[in-house]
Symmetry: C2
Subunit: 196 residues, 2 copies
């Protein structure tokens, strides 16, 4: 096999979930059927590597030192919402139900993957949350085991500093029917019922 | 989302089987956890695009006009083995049971994907096989529906030119047990039985 092809197959294994067989399949596909796309991908990788960094305030991906959202004067600086990934932030923004600030963990506590508080750099979140302006931290990590563990850990850490900490609610989805909802969610919806 | 990130996510969709969600996941992974790997991938793509082409004799990927195998004087130029992909060629080579030449189709006849004899450029195979030196063409396409259809089509085409055409054998695998082999393979093994 030509060296350049070997190297491409090897380099493709940097993609998550891609082993030797699929790396080979991808390399063949690109060289055989989509050379333009492969060239575009190489350039997009270079550009992104050169331009994308983490916002020094909220930690999300940005091209500036501080992202536009963190610079915005129209957002409430007293609320800080903690999410796992930028995609979660995007979902929350689409609700138009929140006008505060964010902090993006870029991950979650996951002992099995060797990701603990240190790897998540939670000291940066701590510094951000204790800037003197933030009054309430809203934990919006996922309701997976790892997301829950992350919320628990972050919540304890921030409450110890005297911050008000809340967690987004669990319950039935909008349009949800009891008959088609799992027992755990129904139990939680009962437990977290609201007075009317 | 920053423009460079958007463009990277879009460019990653060139990878087979990667939709918008996994493109986003891959982009986050590369930017967050493996920037070195992403840079290596960009360079490997550029190098491969610049250096890899198809051998003008056997059609496999190569960095030269004619690949090393086709240039080799120690191989039998009277036998030509037709395979679908370079990976198939590599498997056959590992057997050390064949010392002839190859032709790599870089695909298979697949009407559902719009790949017919014209898209496979079978006229190039025809020219290669009728060079006056090749005496026997061994069809080693897969025993899938598409591989079988390809073998049938190529076989008819070459036999019409007076070439001797053969097909690699079907049967039980080495170490195979009747009890754990599918009926179709057993039937074929019976049908293609050899005199001892």
């Amino acid at each position: 096999m030509p060296a350049a092809l070997d190297q491409l197959i090897d380099a493709l294994r940097v993609l998550p979930g891609v082993g030797p067989k699929s790396a080979q399949r991808i390399a063949y596909h690109l060289l055989q059927r989509d050379r333009n796309g492969a060239g575009r991908l190489a350039r997009a990788l270079d550009t992104a590597l050169a331009q994308i960094r983490h916002c020094s305030r909220c930690n999300t991906f940005t091209e500036a030192e501080i992202c536009e959202r963190c610079m915005s004067a129209s957002r409430d600086p007293q609320q800080l919402c903690v999410v796992e990934m930028p995609a979660d932030l995007a979902m929350l923004e689409q609700t138009h139900a929140y006008r505060g600030m964010y902090y993006v963990l870029m991950g979650r506590v996951s002992p099995l993957d060797g990701i603990g508080p240190r790897e998540l750099k939670l000291d940066r979140l701590l510094a951000r949350a204790t800037d003197g302006t933030v009054q309430e931290v809203i934990l919006a990590t996922n309701f997976t085991n790892e997301g829950e563990a992350t919320a628990h850990y972050v919540g304890e850490m921030l409450r110890a500093r005297g911050l008000k900490v809340s967690r987004i609610a669990r319950g039935l989805p909008v349009g949800g029917e009891l008959e088609h909802t799992d027992i755990g969610t129904i139990a939680q919806a009962l437990y977290e019922r609201r007075a009317l």
